[in-house]
């Protein structure tokens, strides 16, 4: 009896777990096995449950048309429809199908880690990584400071591709960001679907690079749609509404990093650890040198290209010399360290931590963000400011 009950729970759980994407994959499996009737039944059931899943209709069209005549292509739309519908609409659906299939078939290897996530702070329970080439968002859970893949979703990105540089370019930024807020469905129009999570584009680095624009969000889709093509947004990261709701369960405002990259780089754990350890050592040395009040040693951690946004290196150095000279003692505590490699930039890492500064004159605690870069084999600070 108990066994039967357990089985029942298992069956209903697995039925729930079958996402539309899983089911679409099953349809293609039937096609590959040449069980076309089964494929049609499966796609019909999928459409029944998700009548707004346009891609499923395209597949249904193909399966029906294949009964009438040989297909020329996937998404074999022809005739009048072609005159009234822009070709890119069909291409969009084809691209979505490819992206979804590829994601289902090419799973990341279990023993590899995302190279971008060097270290997670204990309070960061999750980190989100966007792989633009795969149109995929990966959710990693923090397991003892190491990322562990727990879920991944199809995403729509900017119409004009990646690397946002100016307002209105309809591109998605590349970089390391953090979720800055939650906008519930009730405060938004239907266009954003189940809700939205704004991120902090442009971040300090973007501003320094002269990048403009704002309002880059993770958000849902209008009720009439299940999903949008891979390249269709104005720069936002768009998820199916059920997927956005799932992601929402992982997101914590101001804590959850969103790393957007051309491609997620996967590396062996040892390689990631070596990189982490080398930067962690540099960070510790910076802390110790600051505490020692040897200002020259302390300032040697800063790059010649350093900027705090308000001060360049010279101004920063002058200020620090003045402050340090007036102290009889300094204690610096660093905790909750997180480190993320910046996509596209070589040896460039965003480091966040809680800084506990005490001195003979002044004490304060703050959340800090630093950008570290490796110059001539040594880690140097390029930016420093409040997080």
């Amino acid at each position: 009896m108990r066994f039967a009950l357990l089985l029942l729970v298992f069956v209903s759980a697995s039925a729930l777990a079958a996402t539309p994407e899983d089911r679409l994959t099953n349809v293609f499996q039937s096609v590959e096995a040449n069980r076309l009737d089964e494929a049609l039944q499966r796609v019909d059931a999928l459409i029944h449950d998700y009548p707004n899943f346009r891609l499923a209709y395209l597949v249904r069209g193909d399966l029906l048309l294949a009964r009438a005549r040989p297909l020329q292509t996937f998404g074999n739309v022809q005739g009048n429809v072609l005159k009234t519908v822009p070709q890119e609409r069909i291409e969009g659906l084809r691209a979505e199908a490819l992206a979804r299939l590829r994601a289902q078939r090419q799973r990341p290897a279990d023993d590899l880690l995302p190279r971008a996530v060097l270290q997670l702070d204990p309070e960061q329970k999750h980190v989100l990584l966007v792989d633009s080439r795969r149109s995929r968002l990966y959710v990693f859970a923090n397991e003892g400071g190491k990322p562990h893949l727990v879920a991944d979703y199809y995403v729509t990105l900017g119409k004009n591709g990646m690397e946002k540089t100016r307002e209105g370019d309809q591109r998605t930024p590349i970089g390391v960001y953090f979720v800055t807020g939650v906008l519930p469905r009730s405060k938004l129009t239907d266009f954003y679907g189940a809700g939205a999570f704004p991120i902090n584009y442009p971040n300090e680095w973007d501003r320094r690079m002269g990048r403009s624009g704002h309002g880059i969000w993770l958000h849902g889709v209008p009720a009439a749609l299940y999903s949008r093509p891979p390249r269709a947004s104005d720069g936002c990261i768009v998820l199916a509404n059920p997927d956005l709701e799932s992601v929402g369960r992982y997101v914590e405002v101001k804590r959850t990093p969103v790393i957007i990259a051309d491609e997620v780089e996967w590396a062996a754990a040892a390689e990631v650890e070596a990189e982490r350890a080398s930067l962690a050592a540099a960070l510790e040395q910076w802390r110790a040198d600051w505490q020692s009040r040897d200002t020259a040693r302390y300032l040697a951690h800063y790059s010649a290209r350093f900027s705090s946004g308000k001060q360049n290196l010279a101004a920063w150095a002058e200020h620090k010399r003045k402050v340090n000279a007036g102290k009889s003692w300094i204690q610096v505590g660093v905790s909750k360290v997180a480190m993320f490699r910046y996509p596209r930039e070589r040896d460039f890492v965003v480091v966040t931590f809680d800084q506990d500064y005490r001195s003979s004159g002044l004490s304060n605690r703050m959340a800090k963000r630093q950008y570290w870069i490796r110059e001539d084999g040594r880690w140097k600070i390029l930016y420093e400011g409040a997080a």
Partner: protein, 320 residues
């Protein structure tokens, strides 16, 4: 294949006749009436045909042959509701006959109810796996269903296209779309009737597509009746003969071809008239030709001109 090119709803193979010898062993009087009704129907005299069939059914209400013919006549008369009733009842009473299923499917397809058409045809094939007509029609139905699925995939909103068509109609009526749009665009779309008429009315009354169609039907009827003079009279003086041969040679060849068979039946299916000018039109349709020697079905386009003797054929070509 033209399936997507026009909103043609008909299937490649239209309604079928029931030709089962087994049903002909009835009383001679009834057979005569039925044969007469069938002839009348084929000659396009539906009213009379219906009268005869009803006479047969009055004597023998369950007669499948007569019920079948009545279904055909009603379909042609546009009384699809009753026709569906008759064919549905036939499938229940004679589940092994594939033809009633097929004809039901043809009617459903003509109404755009392709899922129902599909179910009927699949049933028809289940009863008779070798029934070729059902296979052909099923292929067409699958293609239509595919087309509908593609429309959904690409978010073609039929209400939108309706609005667009209305809008273009308004533009045609008004001439200058900007003038209307500037005033009240919403009203202009919603109430095409109330939009102002263009100041300059056309001098001649507008050509009526129905007249063009009438001429095409007359041509097909003359052909079916083997009325060669009537048939040849449907062609314009400047008719472009298909091979560029002299008109006299072409006429001679046609006469021979039409007189040779004992019987001819030409049916025009899903005609679509496109007005090119006030005195020129093209008509595209499926031509189902059947004689005692040959059976063929093809898509055809007739280029028609309106001259002194009304609408005549100027060119005859296979539709692309």
């Amino acid at each position: 294949m033209q399936i997507f090119e026009t909103p043609r709803r008909g299937l490649r193979r239209g309604l079928v006749f029931l030709c089962l010898a087994a049903f002909w062993c009835a009383a001679p009087a009834r057979a005569d009436d039925l044969e007469e009704a069938s002839k009348l129907f084929k000659a396009g005299q539906r009213e009379q045909a219906l009268e005869r069939v009803n006479r047969v059914l009055a004597q023998k209400s369950g007669d499948p042959q007569a019920r079948f013919l009545k279904g055909l006549i009603l379909t042609e008369q546009g009384n699809t509701r009753e026709a569906i009733e008759i064919f549905t009842k036939l499938t229940q009473d004679y589940p092994n006959l594939p033809e009633p299923y097929n004809n039901l499917a043809v009617i459903y397809a003509s109404q755009g109810q392709y899922e129902k058409a599909r179910a009927s045809l699949e049933q028809s094939i289940r009863t008779h796996p070798s029934y070729a007509t059902a296979y052909e029609n099923l292929g067409d139905v699958y293609a239509k269903l595919a087309s509908q699925a593609y429309d959904k995939a690409l978010q073609l909103d039929s209400t939108n296209t309706g609005a667009q068509q209305k809008l273009s109609l308004v533009r045609e009526l008004v001439g200058s779309p900007t003038r209307v749009a500037a005033k009240e665009p919403a009203v202009a779309v919603a109430k095409p009737v109330e939009t102002p008429k263009p100041a300059a009315a056309p001098e001649k009354p507008a050509a009526n597509p129905a007249d063009v169609l009438k001429a095409v039907n007359a041509w097909a009827q003359a052909w079916s009746k083997k009325d060669v003079d009537g048939y040849l009279g449907a062609y314009a003086k400047d008719f472009k003969t298909p091979g560029g041969e002299a008109r006299a040679d072409w006429e001679k060849a046609r006469r021979a071809r039409i007189e040779a068979p004992k019987s001819i039946a030409v049916a025009i299916e899903s005609p679509k008239v496109t007005m090119q000018a006030n005195n020129q039109a093209s008509v595209t349709f499926r031509q189902n030709y059947r004689s005692d020697k040959l059976k063929s079905s093809s898509r055809k386009t007739l280029v028609m001109v309106n001259g002194e003797g009304g609408w005549k054929i100027q060119e005859e070509k296979a539709a692309k």
